[in-house]
């Protein structure tokens, strides 16, 4: 009888520990996503400024600039899911990268103090976003591992937890952002 009680006790204890660790991981993901959101918002705030200041110079890049504005509007819509946000962020990053590259072709832009300041701010925020993405990816990987690995997968199935998407880290991000090279070209 006592042996049975002990076994039941141990099983219950393990179940509680597993449940708590899964909840902890899920909350960690949400917590860090809030951090990602904050830096993404910072970037959204800069975009209208950037578009306004460069559009008069960048005649040929009108479509890219419009795309950036559209993406920003889409990402700022209330009620979109985290996964959608992640997808939009990837598009926005690549569009902004295209603008960054295109700016090289306009010497007038580089003489504009205001634009340069904006670009520097954007670069700094880009670094923060990259850090936030990496933190998020780690938290999501921890959660996904727990969801798929035995025995936590049983508990996760019962708790209705599902795998989450990670941010794709682009090749350019893996490289060091060389600010000096960007400006001295």
């Amino acid at each position: 009888m006592t042996a049975l009680l002990i076994i039941i006790g141990v099983v219950v204890l393990i179940a509680i520990l597993m449940y708590n660790s899964l909840i902890g991981k899920k909350n960690q993901v949400e917590n860090i996503f809030a951090g990602v959101d904050t830096v993404l918002k910072k970037r959204f705030d800069l975009i209208p400024n950037l578009v306004a200041s460069v559009s008069q110079y960048m005649e040929h890049e009108k479509s890219t600039l419009e795309k950036v504005t559209e993406l920003r509007a889409a990402a700022m819509k209330p009620g979109i899911s985290d996964d959608q946000k992640i997808a939009l962020d990837a598009k926005l990053t690549s569009a902004l990268g295209a603008i960054n590259l295109a700016m090289e072709a306009y010497p007038d832009l580089k003489a504009n103090e205001n634009v340069m300041h904006l670009q520097r701010s954007l670069n700094e925020i880009e670094e923060q976003i990259s850090a936030a993405r990496r933190a998020y990816n780690q938290a999501v990987t921890d959660l996904n591992n727990a969801i798929e690995m035995f025995p936590t997968n049983l508990m996760a199935g019962w708790m209705n937890l599902s795998r989450r998407a990670v941010f794709e880290i682009t090749v350019t991000e893996r490289q060091n952002v060389d600010v000096r090279a960007l400006f001295n070209k």
């Binding site: 951090g35 670094e127 923060q128 850090a131 936030a132 933190a135 490289q175 600010v179």
Partner: protein, 321 residues
């Protein structure tokens, strides 16, 4: 900052007159040491023989005499080399540091403050004795930096009430301004647990380390193999530890071959290198003109001061300008 070969040239050319002078002193000291050593050994043996005959070798008095002789010879060695060590620091190390960068000040008797050492949070133990020397302060490419030799110890008492001293850290300690703003604390320590227990059990042991903040696992497997990172903000830790920063720290670790401890607190980077010895002490039993010896002085200085360039601390982001 000058290159290693330029510094080697400087050492052998510009410092040659002082080196020669010191080398003469060194030779004199060595011959004196040999003389005193010989005399000491002979008298010690005579005394030991006499003691052994009259009281027995394990008599408390005999043991006291053995300990006393060791202490006396240690003190004699200190006294005899003291002036020489001081001269070496003023005539060789001071100009050498000046040659590396004229913005650096050197004080052989001073050390980095205990407050900064404790702020780094690298070694979580109360410190009962804090000593150091060879303090360098200044700026490299506009980055404020300071470092010195540090020997931090703590005390314990055994069951018989005897005090014992334990070394908490001995080596080089450096503090420099970091090129990014941050609020959280990030601590990087050598990875002992994963090395001895493997990544699964070791990783689990690290994650339950109660005295530290949360374990932060980073996306560079090679870095993870060598270091363990604790911090209270996972995003900021990655903002500081970019992929390139992790690679630079790893490269630095590979080159120094001593345990490396790094922390980011209060907008500063704190680096502790556990060399387990004093840095700029002059060689007594090898020649000052010896190439290997020379390179050790130059490389230590260059590696330490070069950390600012190596970690690109001077490349500031706009918000820190």
């Amino acid at each position: 900052m000058r290159s290693t070969s330029e510094l080697t040239d400087f050492y052998y050319k510009e410092l040659y007159p002082s080196l020669n002078e010191l080398e003469e002193t060194r030779k004199k000291i060595v011959s004196q040491l040999k003389w005193y050593g010989g005399m000491g050994a002979v008298s010690f043996l005579l005394l030991a023989a006499w003691m052994g005959k009259n009281f027995g070798l394990l008599h408390p008095l005999s043991i006291a005499i053995v300990i006393g002789s060791i202490a006396v010879s240690g003190i004699t060695y200190r006294i005899m080399t003291h002036g020489y060590a001081k001269d070496f620091k003023t005539k060789i190390i001071t100009p050498l540091i000046g040659a590396i960068d004229p913005h650096l000040l050197y004080n052989p008797d001073f050390m980095i403050s205990q407050h900064l050492f404790e702020r780094s949070d690298l070694f979580q133990h109360t410190i009962d004795r804090y000593r150091g020397n060879d303090y360098v302060k200044g700026s490299i490419n506009g980055v404020p930096i300071e470092f010195s030799d540090i020997h931090a110890e703590y005390q314990t008492r055994d069951s018989k009430g005897r005090t014992q001293w334990h070394t908490l850290f001995r080596g080089l300690f450096l503090v420099a301004e970091f090129n990014k703003h941050f609020k959280a604390k990030t601590v990087i320590l050598p990875d002992k647990a994963e090395k001895s227990f493997g990544s699964l059990i070791g990783g689990w042991l690290q994650s339950i380390n109660l005295s530290r903040e949360d374990l932060i696992r980073l996306d560079d497997p090679e870095f993870e193999k060598h270091f363990v990172v604790y911090g209270n903000d996972p995003i900021e830790a990655r903002y500081i530890l970019t992929h390139s920063m992790m690679k630079r720290l790893l490269d630095f670790q590979r080159r120094i071959s001593h345990p490396l401890f790094v922390s980011f607190v209060h907008n500063h980077i704190h680096v502790a290198i556990g060399t387990s010895k004093d840095l700029f002490e002059p060689a007594v039993f090898t020649s000052l003109l010896d190439y290997k010896q020379t390179m050790e002085y130059i490389n230590t200085l260059r590696n330490t001061i070069g950390l600012v360039e190596e970690l690109k601390l001077s490349e500031k982001l706009w918000s820190k300008v």
